[in-house]
């Protein structure tokens, strides 16, 4: 009886041992597989991280924002072209892109009013030109070329000629999406405004102030200017929905600035 019982027990024990061995083997296989998964997955993740780092380095190197560049003489606040006397009590800062249609509308609508304030010595206008619409000139980078030209005219002929050139460009504003005036045409406008052809043609063609244009555009975005036109009166952004509203609110803010 005991012998028979012990055989059964032994058999049961053998089965249990075999099951345990199988379980251990399976566990080892599972562990091995997990190790393999981690090694392969980790290796791929490491390669991807390296590619990400390399790509990041390339993109950073291609972005020259903030690098030092030639700055036109005569600018105010590093990036602005002034109209009017510095002694004026109120400063109106206009952020605009030569390609932006609403900026053209604003220029047309605001010119008589602002000119009056400028002439009476009450306001100095700071034109903060940007070049974020380069993509909207059929590959011709009109915004950058026009703003560079403005810098060249300011640099060589002073603020009065530069503001006249600025007005000319807006009066002859190209439709958004077209290539806009060529370098030759920009030079012709500069001469019409009163600049010397010999002085401006080289720097306009060579984009002497291109880095300044880039830095100015980045600086405006750091000022939270994400649309043009943006108008500030003594640093306060003027809210608006329509150009008429922008004009009226600008006028009111100037009056308030003069009253205080």
């Amino acid at each position: 009886m005991t012998k028979k019982k012990s055989t059964a027990t032994r058999r049961a024990e053998q089965t249990a041992a075999a099951e345990r061995a199988a379980a251990i083997r399976k566990e080892q296989e599972r562990k091995e597989k997990r190790r393999r998964t981690l090694v392969i997955g980790g290796a791929i993740a490491a390669v991807l991280a390296l590619i990400l780092l390399a790509g990041y380095a390339v993109q950073s190197a291609r972005d020259t924002t903030g690098e030092a560049g030639a700055v036109p003489s005569g600018v105010v606040d590093e990036y602005a072209v002034p109209r009017g006397q510095e002694s004026a009590p109120v400063t109106v800062t206009v952020y605009e892109d030569f390609m932006c249609p609403f900026c053209g509308d604003f220029e047309q609508a605001s010119e008589p009013m602002l000119q009056e304030y400028v002439d009476s010595g009450d306001v100095q206008v700071h034109y903060r030109v940007l070049s974020f619409l380069d993509g909207a000139s059929d590959g011709a980078d009109y915004s950058t070329r026009a703003m560079n030209a403005l810098g060249v005219v300011l640099d060589t002929a002073g603020p009065d000629v530069a503001t006249a050139f600025h007005d000319l460009l807006f009066r002859n504003q190209p439709a958004e999406g077209t290539s806009g005036p060529s370098d030759d045409e920009l030079i012709a406008y500069a001469v019409e405004a009163g600049a010397s052809e010999d002085a401006v043609s080289g720097p306009i063609r060579d984009r002497q102030f291109e880095q300044w244009v880039l830095n100015a555009t980045d600086d405006a975005s750091q000022d939270d200017v994400s649309s043009t036109p943006t108008v500030m009166v003594d640093g306060e952004v003027i809210e608006f929905r329509t150009i008429d509203e922008l004009l009226a609110n600008t006028d009111a803010a100037i009056q308030e600035g003069l009253g205080s």
Binding site: T37, G41, Y56, Q59, S60, D97, L133
Partner: protein, 168 residues
Amino acid sequence: MHWIGVVARLVVGGVWLAAGLLKIPDPTENVRAVRAYQLLPESIVPAVGHALPILEILVGLCLLAGVLVRANAVLSVVLLVAFVIGISSALARGLSIECGCFGGGGGPAVNAAAKYPWELARDAGLLLLSGWLVWRPRTPYAVDNVLFPEDGDEDADEPTETLIRTTE
């Protein structure tokens, strides 16, 4: 149900790849687009603007090829949630900025706010598909199937084999 995963990989991966590639030409604009949301501190804005397109391309390629699907789907979810937060907060704060999702976004935007709902809906759809891939990363025609073969004894209908196995 396997085809859902393949479609999800192709759609989400394709969108990431396109979004990344379209941003590559103008790193300066990418930085301005990130900045326009006015959410991140200026100290990290340029880094995000420069790294994001590369990250998007990598996530896109990995999902298309089926490499580390679960990890990349998790990344996809994280990025999409960040974008949804960005766009909703722009909407809530009344900012009128371009999404910048597929390049651009560094410039003035006309009627930008009118596009927010559509952008949010698109991101929600992509989020759903990415979530599916986090849940079911095993799909046919994926490199993962070669790199990390499934256990033979597992039910083929339940592709629960995961890339990073949790402790059982």
